[in-house]
């Protein structure tokens, strides 16, 4: 288990504050949860606590961005996605303004707070916004890399962050290339894992190899733009793809993969693990993920079925 993404992201914000005078940080009364509080304490003049008003916060960030600043807005992912989307679309994305949208407590990671706080539709919303890039980091290192990458961009970037301590991926990559990241090599099936599901998928590949199934695992943090070439390269070898995501199966990562494959005429066996069209429940995080199929065991089971 490693540093949580929020701790890593908050720490990186604090670090970059020293070298990026254009960096301003906004939060919606959850800065001790998102960890933007660290930046706020060090740079009070460049930190704005906007209260529980995500829509206004995004609008204020847009105004700052028109004046040469690079704002990072922090709030719970679901509230940014639902209450800030009007402003994200009309103020930030329409004008292609450089604003980083840091969605904390992404996926089911706010597990005990239940359905109201769990963010399983944010990727569908964010990827539908023109000019928006969408990144779902797999671990703390990718969370830091996402922020560094986003600050080099001249338009908006959504970064979905996890609340809890999760395993680190054994591999690192050059984030600026926006490519898929090879976590395990194989040619029988391609498992493409979005966000924290990459560590489950990597574990699953090890178990599958014992049963003679060589799975290729790709960590895919960039949902938009999607590294379609990277996916196709692997699928050409395996002929099978299993998508895994901590999100509803409608409109998210798996949908993005399907859209890209269909429009390019890529044919392969397909399956996806994600959350069905349902409201989720309260519980301990790993158990909750498993309840909705996001587990090493379920990945193994789906992969085996696809390889039959």
């Amino acid at each position: 288990m490693s540093l949580t993404m929020r701790d890593a992201f908050g720490g990186k914000l604090l670090e970059l504050g020293a070298t990026h005078p254009e960096l301003v940080v906004l939060d919606a009364d959850v800065s001790s949860s998102t960890k933007s509080v660290m930046f706020g304490k060090k740079y009070p003049d460049r930190f704005f606590n906007c209260g529980v008003a995500e829509g206004n916060m995004v609008g204020v960030a847009a105004g700052l961005a028109t004046c040469g600043y690079h704002p990072v807005v922090n709030a719970f992912a679901i509230f940014l996605a639902l209450k800030g989307t009007d402003q994200l679309r009309n103020d930030v994305c329409y004008n292609k303004l450089p604003v980083v949208i840091a969605g904390a407590y992404g996926g089911l990671s706010d597990s005990f707070d239940g359905a109201s706080h769990q963010s399983i539709i944010d990727i569908a919303i964010m990827r539908a916004l023109p000019n928006m890039q969408v990144i779902v980091p797999a671990d703390a290192t990718q969370a830091e890399q996402s922020l560094e990458y986003a600050l080099t961009q001249d338009g908006p970037v959504y970064i979905r962050l996890n609340r809890n301590s999760m395993p680190d991926l054994p591999v690192e990559t050059n984030f600026s290339k926006r490519e898929v990241i090879l976590c395990h090599e194989g040619s029988d099936i391609t498992i493409v894992a979005n966000g924290i599901t990459a560590s489950f998928a990597t574990e699953a590949a090890k178990l599958l190899s014992r049963e003679g199934i060589m799975a290729e695992v790709l960590s895919v943090p960039f949902v938009k733009p999607l590294d379609v070439e990277g996916l196709v390269k692997s699928v050409k070898k395996s002929g099978r793809i299993l998508c895994v995501e901590e999100h509803t199966l409608m409109g998210g990562f798996s949908s993005a993969v399907c859209e890209a494959f269909m429009s390019r005429g890529v044919h392969c066996m397909y399956d996806a693990i994600g959350i069905d069209d349902t409201f989720t429940e309260t519980g301990e995080y790993i158990s909750l993920l498993a309840e909705y199929g996001i587990s090493t065991k379920n990945i193994v089971s789906h992969a085996k079925a696809l390889c039959k």
Binding site: V24, D45, R46, F48, C50, G51, A53, G55, N56, V58, G59, V60, A61, A62, G63, L64, A65, T66, C67, G68, Y69, P71, D86, Q87, N90, D91, Y94, N95, K96
Partner: protein, 296 residues
């Protein structure tokens, strides 16, 4: 264009007086009516109600540079009531930001003059607007940018009642009162008529002045007629009279101002100006312009 208006527009950089502003506003209102009639689309009522306000800002008040629209020290203006886009376009073109010949392309496919103002199409537009209630937040962001960078520019946000129906406006009003950035000015084009009916029928703002004051804003005590350039200049004087921020000015205005049968009528929020309506209306607008030119 008449001789006197032509003469006035020879020197766009000067600080125009109230009589000159009134004549310009009457002329611009006529231009707006003309384009809206030609194009058969757009919003007349709310564009007409703030003709004097935007004219006074752009021809008397704002510190801007036509040759350098993105000058970083310029004053900012946000038309939060973005449906009044024909008003802003008419003012910007006549101020010299783009050719007036472009105005008849309003809302055409391929035109820079989008249905609602778009900052990526026109570099003289400080913020794209259209979805109501966004302007105060964005203006607050611009004013906070001035605060942290030490710049002296001011940020003016013009809203109608519709913007104030939106909850976001009140979130922004609260936050602005917390940070009190210097130079943030809210101007309310209070024409008291919405799309579906009068403000009192649709969503009464009741005592708007008290609401804004209780939200921590410095609000004008004197009543200002927002269709009277003398009053508008007085309100500018009030803005300069102290250093208490943020400031809000409520202007009493008339929706559909200048054409008798469109005044205070919610149907003229966005109705098409028919040939018949145009023929009748343009006579009144020409008369009004002639009156204002006569006293120059």
């Amino acid at each position: 264009m008449s001789h006197s208006i032509n003469e006035l527009l020879q020197d766009k950089e000067k600080k125009f007086d109230a009589k000159e502003l009134a004549a310009l506003a009457a002329y611009f209102r006529m231009c707006m009516f003309d384009v809206l009639h030609q194009r058969g689309t757009g919003h007349w009522g709310g564009a007409a109600s703030c003709a004097e306000l935007t004219t006074s800002l752009y021809f008397n008040r704002l510190n801007i540079d036509v040759k350098n629209p993105k000058w970083e020290d310029r004053d900012r203006f946000i038309l939060s009531k973005g449906h009044a886009s024909i008003n802003l376009y008419t003012i910007l073109a006549n101020r010299g930001f783009f050719p007036v010949e472009q105005l008849p392309t309003f809302r055409m496919l391929g035109s820079d003059l989008q249905g609602h103002p778009c900052m990526t199409k026109l570099d003289s537009v400080d913020m794209s607007t259209g979805a109501l209630g966004h302007g105060i937040s964005v203006g607050l962001g611009m004013a906070l940018a001035a605060k942290i960078s030490g710049k002296k520019y001011w940020t003016y946000v013009l809203t109608g009642e519709g913007c104030l129906d939106e909850g976001q406006s009140w979130e922004a009003l609260m936050m602005a009162a917390k940070y009190k950035p210097r130079g943030l000015i809210l101007m309310v084009d209070h024409n008291k008529v919405q799309l579906d009916g009068s403000e009192s029928e649709i969503m009464p703002l009741l005592s708007l002045k008290d609401k804004l004051s209780s939200f921590g804003w410095h609000v004008n005590h004197e009543a200002y007629d927002g269709n009277n350039c003398n009053d508008i200049l007085k309100s500018f004087g009030w803005m300069d009279s102290d250093d208490v921020w943020p400031k809000a000015v409520i202007y009493d205005t008339v929706k559909g101002k200048g054409v008798s049968f469109t005044e205070n009528k919610n149907i003229w929020h966005g109705a098409v100006i028919t040939d018949d309506a145009y023929e009748k209306g343009i006579v009144e607008l020409k008369e009004d312009l002639a009156k204002k030119e006569a006293v120059l």
